[in-house]
Subunit: 227 residues, 4 copies
C-alpha cells in the first residue's frame, strides 16, 4: 500500500471513542472518505486493535508506538515485525506521550527500513526535529506538546516552529518529509500546515472526539480537495 | 467467560512463531485442545494481535501488559478499557521482561477489579510475590527470571521458591491464587507445580517454539486429564 | 551512628534553597537543634551533595534515592556502596517523585541490610505500604502524593490512610516501622503522626522553604520535647 | 575554570575503586598530573561524591548524569543547578549506561548553556552523534557500547565510526567538538583518536582500574606531551 501526499494521519490515542469496535468504525469512515476523495487518510489505532483494524480496511494503518527489540523473549513489547504481521504499513514513534531514546529511534528507523515499514518520528522543538531527521526516518512530525489537544493549531499559534523545523530538516537530511500536528481541527489548519512546507498533518482529538467523524474528516481535507 | 483451574496460560511473548496470523493459529489450537479436554487453556497474544485474536476464539485471552492510565490522551499506551474492548478477560502485568512499579500495579489491580478484568501479576522472588499479593490481584505468577526460557522447570530446580511464595501469599492475602512459571515444558512440570500448591502454570517457549503445538499442549496437560 | 525515634527526616529534594553550600548550612542547623534537644533529626541532601554534607555533620544522613546496581560499569547510577562510602547511614527509595519497581526495592532492601544501611521505602496507599513492608525494609513512609507540598498534613487530612497503613504493616511485617509524610509543617502535625502509630515524619518544603530553618525545626519538634 | 584541549575525561562510573575517599584520591592524582604536564585532565566522579570532590580539586569536574528538571520538588533527581552549586564545570549526559531521551537532552543543553555549564553528550553510532550534535551541546562523545570496558580501542577497532561521526558533526553543527571513547587504555589510543579528528577522549576502566593511577594517566597523555 502506497502512502500518498498530502497525508492526513489520524491518531486514535487511547481515547475510548475509538477503542475496539468503535475504532474499527472510525477506520471504516476514514477509508470511505479516502476512497471517495482520493486523499490519503491514514489511521493509528490503539495498539491492541492494530491487527484487528488493519485486517479490515484498505487505507494505510500505522502503529502508535514500537519498541526497539527484535522478535523474541520480550513480553509486552511491540516489535516492528509484529507491526508488519498485523498488516500495518509503518509506525509512529517518540510521540510526546510515549517518548523513547534517540539510540532507540536509530535502531527502529534502520530496522524499519529493512522491513519496508514507514517511520514517523514525533518531535517537539525545531532542534529535536533536526536531531530526529539526522536519523533518517521517512517522516518527522513536529508537535509542540503545549498545543496538543487544545484546538489551537500549531500552524497558527507557532508557525515559526514549523518553518524552522522544515528549514533545519532540509539542511540536515532533505529526504525526510515533515508533518506537523497539535491543535489541528479544521481544513484551514491543514491548508496552513501545507503552506508552511509540511506534507501533511498528524491529528487526534480534532477527529476522534468529533460528533460526526465523516463531516470532521471532510472538513479537514476540504482545502486539499479544492486544490 | 469463566476461568477454570488448573489454568494453563500460554504467553506468546514477541516470538515470531506466534505473531499475526500464526498467533491466531496457535490460539485456535489451544482452543481446540481446551474444548476437547475441558482443561482451561488461556493465551496471551502479542499486544498488536489482542483484538484480532480475542474476537476469533472462545478461550480466555489475556493482554501481556497494561499501563496504569485511563482512556484519554495517551498515545502508545495500553489501557484496561482497551484490553476489555478487545475482548480479553484480563491482563498479565509486571512480567520480568516488562516490569512496572508497585504503585502502578496497585492502580491497575484496583481499576481492573472495577472493570471485571482478571489480573495476573508476575513476580520473581517470594518476597516480591508477597508484596504483589498485598495489592490484591486475582493471581500472582512466580517466575525466577534466571530460569525463563531455559527448559529447566522452576518446580524442579527451585521448588522452595514456589512453596515459600505459596506460604507467604496465604499469610498476606489468602484470596490470591498462585501460578508458577519459568522452564515449564512438559506435563511433569505442571503436575509438580500443582503439588507445590499453585493453581496452574504460565509458560511460553515450551509451547510457542514446539514443532507441534497440539502435541506440546496435550503433553502439558496430560497429568491433569488423568486426574 | 544510631537512629533514634521519634525520627524527623528532612528531605532537601532538588530545592535551590538547600543546594550545595546552602544544603550544608541547613544540615548544620539540623545538627545544632538535634544536639541541643536530643531529638533525632536526619537529613536527605541532594545526591550531588551527599558525601560533601555527610562528611561534615554528625547527624544521620540519608540518600534521596539509590539504584539497584552493584558497584561497576554503571555511569550515572547511585549504588548502595557509594551511599555508604559517602558517609550516609541509609537511603530513601521509591519516593513519589522517583519511583522504582518492586523487584528493585527487593534487591535494594536485601543488599542494604547486608551493608548495614537503613532503608526508608516511600509509598502512596495503604496497599502499597503493605506491599513494600512485605519486602522487609527498616521503614516505610506513607505519603499521599496529592498532599505533598500543600501544607495540608496527611495526619489531619487523611488520618485513615496512616492508620490503615500502620495496621496492614503490623499484619504483614511487624518489624517494619512506619513514618508518614506529605503536608507536615508544624509541631501539631508531628504529634498527630505519632498518635496515629507512626515513629516519625518525613518532610521537605515545611522546613527547607521556611525563612528561619532553626525556628521551623524547633517548632516541629516542640511536642516531642515537651513529652 | 577553562577547559583546554586535547581533553582527557576520566569517568569514575560506579566503580568501587573510585568511590568516596578513593574517588577523591584519584581526582587528586589527576590534578597533580594535569598541573605538572599542562594537559587538561577532567574527572567525572560518582554523583554522590560530586560536591565533595569538586570542592577539593582545581581541575574540571563533570557530573556523570543530569536530569532535565529545574530546581524544585524532584526528590532523587540531579539538576543542572545542583551540578553548578557542587562546583562542577559541566555534565556528561546520555551515557550508554544511562541514556535519556532526545527531548531531555534538548532541554538540558539549552539550560546548561544559560547556566554556563559545559555539556558532553554521549552517543553510540554516527547517526546518533549527528542527531545529538543537532541539539548544540559543547561536545559529543562517540562510544560504541560493544567496546566499552574491553580494552579494545574504538580508534583502532572502529576508526570509521569515529571519522564518520566527525564528518557528520561538521555538516550538522561545526561548533560541536567530538570526543571518542570505549576501550581507550594507552597513549597510542589517544594519539589515534586525535588523528581521527577528535579533540580528546572519554575513558573509565583504563585509568580507574589501573594499579598505578599516576602511571596510567601519564602513559595516556605521553603522545600529547611529546607534541
Amino acid at each position: 500500500m502506497k502512502i500518498g501526499y498530502p497525508l492526513i494521519l489520524i491518531n486514535f490515542k487511547a481515547y475510548s471513542e475509538a477503542s475496539g469496535k468503535r475504532g474499527l468504525q472510525l477506520a471504516k469512515v476514514a477509508e470511505k472518505v479516502s476512497k471517495e476523495t482520493g486523499i490519503t487518510i491514514a489511521v493509528a489505532p490503539q495498539l491492541t486493535d492494530l491487527a484487528f483494524i488493519a485486517s479490515q480496511v484498505e487505507i494505510p494503518v500505522f502503529s502508535q508506538h514500537v519498541d526497539d527489540v527484535p522478535p523474541g523473549s520480550y513480553t509486552g513489547h511491540v516489535t516492528l515485525e509484529a507491526v508488519k504481521d498485523a498488516g500495518a504499513v509503518g509506525t509512529m514513534v517518540n510521540h510526546s506521550e510515549r517518548r523513547v531514546r534517540a539510540d532507540q529511534v536509530d535502531v527502529i528507523v534502520k530496522r524499519a527500513r529493512s522491513l519496508g515499514l514507514t517511520t514517523v518520528v514525533c518531535t517537539n522543538t525545531p532542534e529535536v526535529t533536526a536531531a530526529m531527521a539526522a536519523l533518517g526516518p521517512d517522516m518527522v512530525a513536529i508537535e509542540p506538546p503545549e498545543l496538543i489537544g487544545t484546538g489551537i493549531p500549531v500552524s497558527k499559534a507557532k508557525p515559526e516552529v514549523v518553518t524552522s523545523s522544515v528549514e533545519l530538516v532540509k539542511k540536515v537530511n532533505p529526504n525526510v518529509k515533515v508533518l506537523c500536528g497539535a491543535g489541528i481541527t479544521v481544513g484551514e489548519d491543514v491548508a496552513a500546515a501545507l503552506r508552511l512546507g509540511t506534507v501533511g498533518v498528524l491529528l487526534a482529538s480534532g477527529v476522534v472526539k468529533a460528533k460526526d467523524w465523516e463531516k470532521a474528516i471532510l472538513d479537514l481535507i476540504s482545502p486539499i480537495i479544492k486544490k
